[in-house]
């Protein structure tokens, strides 16, 4: 509101002065921030010593002293060499030997190309969905098509693919399935619930409040237990819903409640004037919501939204307690075998890195999205 230019104002007569010489450069920065007093110099030196020391020992452990492969005799890995250097060098041989089990669990070994393809399909789906050029109605058939294809690949029984029961699925595809399907359903659900909580209709409002408060008031683990143990009791005799699907529903409902509160925060941040302006123009409720309210509300809550997404992606690992083999559980199971017992660190580092790649990608993308979508707020 202040960018009016006063063209006729005579040039100021005060002498122009240059801004103070800024201290720039790495040296100046270091002097100002790291060595500006004897205390900070001491802290800097101490921390530098600790960081360098532990980095060196980590690099030695992870790379120089590491064992990448061990001989296999009669299908038994000979891990004596690994045990000798335990604590001094990493035994990456456990990953070399077990990576397929960690990634795909107990899925039939000869069919591993199918879950591998599924993982690539998921990543492709994420990449396409992330590009704003594809943000139109075509995304819907792309999602439906890809998810169907993923289902066919995982289950098989069609097009000459052998049937693989759900109990044998495991590893990364499970994590991706749970989080992708979970978010794909939880997010629209959350938007409806958030809108419902602000509805003028008391029945809808109560229902939405009840849903959020009930689900939020219960730990995810107890929801998963309920889904796996209690829920089948209510089903008629002989009817059986897939365990993965039940866990999926529990996770979706759980995420939906949290996301709904995030979305509601965005709705509440909008000024009443925006609603009134849309009303005054005669826009219907859904036009107003779709074109004016949600686009602004969702932009405002990108950081907490992605925060919830990331937390939720990692929360899928809780399905281990009801016996579903997600990535983390598969990793844990891979080292049950006597030969590999005691090499948990290497496996957990690897699994952690896989989680990190996905979560960091989400985080980075959200930062870009936030910057791009909020351009209108910059002057």
């Amino acid at each position: 509101m202040s960018d009016i230019t006063l063209g006729q104002t005579p040039a100021s007569t005060a002498p122009r002065s240059a801004p103070p010489v800024a201290a720039t450069g790495a040296m100046a920065w270091a002097r100002a921030n790291l060595f500006n007093s004897w205390l900070s110099t001491a802290v800097t030196l101490l921390l530098a010593y600790l960081i360098i020391r532990y980095s060196i020992s980590f690099v030695e452990w992870a790379f120089f002293n590491a064992i990448w492969q061990v001989p296999v005799v009669n299908g038994q890995a000979q891990t004596a060499a690994c045990r000798e250097i335990k604590g001094v060098g990493a035994c990456w041989a456990v990953i070399t030997e077990k990576h397929r089990f960690i990634l795909f669990g107990t899925y039939p070994y000869d069919e591993h190309w199918r879950p591998l393809l599924v993982c690539f399909l998921f990543v492709g789906l994420y990449v396409i969905s992330a590009m704003r050029r594809f943000w139109n109605w075509r995304l819907v058939p792309i999602w439906v098509g890809t998810l169907t294809l993923i289902g066919i690949l995982m289950w098989g029984g069609l097009f000459g693919l052998s049937y693989v029961p759900q109990e044998r699925w495991g590893g990364l595809p499970i994590t991706l399935i749970l989080s992708t399907f979970g978010l794909a359903f939880a997010f629209p659900l959350a938007i409806l619930v958030a809108l419902g909580r602000r509805s003028k209709l008391p029945a809808i409002k109560m229902l939405c409040i009840l849903y959020v408060e009930l689900i939020r008031g219960v730990p995810l683990i107890s929801l998963l237990f309920m889904a796996s143990v209690m829920f089948p009791l209510f089903l008629p005799e002989g009817m059986n819903i897939d365990k993965l699907l039940r866990a999926q529903i529990a996770i979706t409902l759980f995420a939906g409640a949290y996301l709904a509160e995030v979305v509601r925060g965005g709705l509440q941040a909008l000024s009443r004037g925006q609603y009134e302006a849309a009303d005054a123009l005669g826009l219907s409720y859904w036009h107003k919501t779709g074109f004016i309210i949600l686009p602004q509300a969702l932009r405002l809550v990108i950081p907490p939204l992605v925060n919830t997404f990331i937390g939720f992606f990692k929360d899928t690992s809780l399905v281990l307690i009801i016996g579903i083999f997600d990535l983390l559980t598969a990793g844990k199971t891979a080292i049950v075998e006597p030969a590999w017992q005691g090499f948990g660190v290497e496996v957990y580092i690897t699994v952690g890195l896989i989680y990190l790649v996905f979560c960091f990608a989400m985080s980075k993308y959200s930062q870009d999205l936030e910057r791009d979508l909020n351009q209108h707020r910059r002057r």
Partner: protein
């Protein structure tokens, strides 16, 4: 309250008495909780008439015009706009909001849409106008408020005066029969008030029916057919601007005018 002039006095319009009334308010009452914000308000606005509503803050003038397009719901009495009575019926509400444009004190442009999109959204989705036609119409009105070159910018990149002119263009793109202005210049820096008032004067010259809540007495003198003075939720006096300002009948108006003049 004894000095309130008879309600019927406000009904007869000074101008265009032959035209059918665009807006009729009969015995309208409204409360915010226990606060009686509109008391037995009677007002008739003829088609093509320009009415300025003034009064001290909290007098109910904004509430009055917000009742006309039902941003506020009146609790007693009857309001009809363009021959349609305002009820809970959603269809009649849609019909009225299509015909009544509104300009707000705080502009209320949609910050995430460009100026052009702000102007075309409602014509496309409410009037079902083809996009190209809506854009041409929007450019026409943006030209008329003298900011066509800003069409691709976002509201945040414009000055307050420019934003308010966009808001006027946005309302006009719906081709309303009636325009409501709720203190359109109160949030503006002094140097931008004129550009907005000029736009409104230009609009008045086209014969648009207008109700304008404002403290700009110069504008009232120049444009208004009638000035309505409100205080504490009721219409205290109304009449042609010169008569009203030069010869106030009530102490309340006299006090208000003296305060306004002192303020300027």
């Amino acid at each position: 309250m004894g000095e309130t002039i008879e309600a019927t006095a406000h009904i007869a319009s000074a101008m265009r008495a032959d035209a059918p009334p665009a807006i009729v308010l009969e015995n309208v009452n409204k409360w915010f909780g226990a606060l009686h914000v509109l008391r037995e308000v009677n007002l008739q606005v003829a088609t093509g008439e320009r009415v300025v509503v003034c009064g001290p803050s909290g007098s109910g003038k904004s509430t009055l015009i917000r009742c006309i397009n039902r941003l506020e719901v009146h609790q007693q009495g009857r309001i009809s706009v363009d021959g349609i009575e305002l009820t809970d019926d959603l269809r009649s509400l849609d019909a009225i909001r299509r015909e009544v444009g509104m300009v707000f004190q705080s502009f209320n442009l949609f910050p995430h849409l460009t100026i052009l999109e702000n102007c075309t959204l409602a014509p496309i989705w409410v009037r079902r106008m083809p996009k190209k036609e809506a854009e041409e119409l929007a450019m026409e009105y943006l030209t008329r408020v003298r900011i066509p070159e800003q069409a691709k910018k976002y509201p945040g990149q414009l000055s307050g005066g420019q934003q308010q002119r966009v808001a006027i263009a946005r309302a006009l793109c719906m081709k309303p029969k009636i325009m409501l202005f709720d203190e359109p210049t109160s949030a503006l820096d002094p140097e931008m008030i004129k550009e907005v008032l000029d736009t409104m004067v230009m609009l008045a010259a086209t014969g648009m029916t207008m109700i304008c809540v404002t403290h700009e007495m110069g504008f009232a003198r120049q444009v208004a057919d009638r000035v309505v003075f409100m205080d504490r939720g009721e219409i205290v006096e109304s009449g042609e601007p010169e008569a009203l300002f030069n010869d106030p009948k009530t102490d309340r108006l006299r006090l208000f005018l003296s305060q306004i003049l002192r303020g300027h």
